[in-house]
């Protein structure tokens, strides 16, 4: 077996282009996914049967089928219908880029909605009752109490979901997109150095996951600051004027 380090260096800029597309796909579909997941999770956490049934079916379908089927359904499946091909959406639906984003967004929305729902149900009842007692209306409760609290609770689990989305984004290469995996496959078709190129692509994926994990650790630390708060005693020699009478007598 011959091992060519030079191929990796030679094609690294191309791989980086692919990595950029991967990041773009994850970021855009992640944002759309959150926007879809919030109303879904609120409906799912409701106590009305009909309000619950729709998001339940949606989530069950997207969590129970492979992402590959979902991408193919959007990219190849949509063209089966005459009315889709004649609609104003067709210029979007015929591009693999937008199809990938649609499929990833719908997929991640289903998984995140389930995360957010369990986070909403994990909010202590006392906090909702307190909001109620303050006279907040339901929409104000959702905006001021439920969503911020659920966000803080769901943050670590959502970080895992983003990593899974990053791994799933490799499937964009199956519909001709040149993401990190797609780019590696194109280079391999030219140079026939599968092990070298896949190793390089794998290392880039690992670096991106490390970045995402670090980002979420930081965000969790910032957002759930109250959990990390430690009261420190006021220094003994501090000027009496600067002392806070509420903290230390």
């Amino acid at each position: 077996m011959t091992w060519e380090w030079s191929v990796i260096w030679q094609y690294l800029p191309r791989l980086m282009e692919g990595a950029w597309l991967t990041l773009e796909l994850v970021l855009i579909s992640g944002l759309i996914g959150i926007a879809l997941a919030i109303p879904l999770s609120l409906m799912r956490a409701s106590s009305q049967f009909w309000l619950k049934a729709l998001p339940f079916t949606y989530i069950y379908f997207f969590r129970g089928t492979p992402l590959l089927v979902q991408i193919f359904l959007v990219y190849y499946g949509a063209s089966q219908f005459e009315f889709v091909r004649e609609s104003i959406l067709w210029p979007i639906l015929k591009q693999p880029y937008w199809c990938a984003i649609i499929a990833f967004s719908l997929n991640t929305a289903a998984y995140s909605a389930e995360l957010f729902r369990s986070a909403i149900q994990a909010i202590p009842v006392g906090e909702i009752e307190a909001a109620e007692a303050m006279g907040m209306s339901k929409p104000v409760q959702v905006r001021r109490i439920i969503l911020p609290r659920a966000f803080g609770i769901a943050l670590p689990a959502y970080g895992n979901e983003v990593i899974l989305m990053l791994k799933g984004s490799a499937l964009a290469s199956t519909i001709t997109l040149l993401d990190l995996t797609g780019m590696a496959r194109t280079i391999i078709a030219r140079t026939y150095t599968p092990l070298e190129m896949f190793l390089a692509a794998g290392l880039v994926y690992l670096a991106i996951s490390a970045l995402i994990i670090g980002l979420f650790r930081f965000m969790e630390y910032r957002f759930n600051r109250y959990q990390y708060y430690h009261h420190t005693d006021t220094p003994k020699g501090l000027d009496a004027q600067l002392r806070d009478p509420h903290i230390d007598q």
Partner: protein, 230 residues
């Protein structure tokens, strides 16, 4: 829904998918148990290797693993074999490559599930086993493993669902599974939505069956809860 005579093709694809999932599950469980044993062992090298394995594999896309093993595996195997003086061509088929990739991925997550389950077992269980005069090995197989199994089943059930859905990736390297067979049907009928929807429904049935089977296994593995319900 009119399948235009392609139903038997989809059924044969389903059978291949089930075989692939079960084979990967068996090999993956071995990887997972080995990984968990290595992570909890006193040997620093073993711990280090297992941590490297789980960290690496959990950060890599499964598709990349499948592609690497399918396109690079034979090159790697031939290089290893040439070290033993074997210079013939070695080919890795899509099924073997699929089992290898999926079980490596499954094993990395299963390592964590088994490790968590093993850490849940109170030390007193070990001590009482030893106090009854059992050897450590016998204590492990008679007392610890059945309890680890009970604690690990819900986690493993979730992982198996992920594995089942990941089998679709092996169609990319040409295994005749559900996905591949639907594509064959589509190239003849030009009805992509219909056939991919049927494929999606087959996967839904399989995941639903897995959920049911996991619940049954939980019931079987937990005699205490079963008896207490009366």
């Amino acid at each position: 829904m009119d399948l235009q005579g392609f139903g038997h093709l989809l059924i044969s694809g389903t059978w291949i998918t089930i075989q692939l999932a079960l084979a990967s599950l068996v090999v993956g469980l071995v990887f997972g148990l080995t990984g968990a044993a290595a992570k909890l062992s006193n040997n620093r090298v073993a711990r280090w290797l297992a941590t490297g394995y789980t960290t690496l594999v959990r950060g890599l896309p499964e598709l990349l693993l499948v592609l690497t093993i399918y396109f690079g595996g034979s090159q790697l195997l031939m290089w290893i074999a040439s070290g033993f003086g074997y210079d013939e061509y070695i080919e890795i088929g899509p099924f073997i490559a699929g089992v290898a990739a999926l079980s490596i991925a499954f094993g990395a997550y299963a390592t964590e599930v088994f490790r968590m389950a093993m850490m849940e077992i109170p030390a007193g269980q070990w001590e009482s086993g030893l106090a009854c005069g059992m050897s450590p090995r016998r204590t492990f197989f008679r007392i610890i493993l059945p309890q680890v199994w009970r604690l690990a089943i819900p986690g493993l059930g979730n992982l198996f669902q992920v594995l089942l859905k990941d089998t679709a990736l092996v169609s990319v390297v040409g295994l005749n599974d559900i996905m591949r067979q639907s594509q064959v049907a589509i190239s003849a009928t030009k009805e992509p939505f219909t056939f991919f929807m049927v494929a999606a429904c087959i996967y839904l049935l399989l995941t639903a069956a897995t959920t049911g089977f996991t619940m049954l296994m939980e019931w079987v593995a937990n005699p205490a809860a079963r008896e207490s319900r009366g």
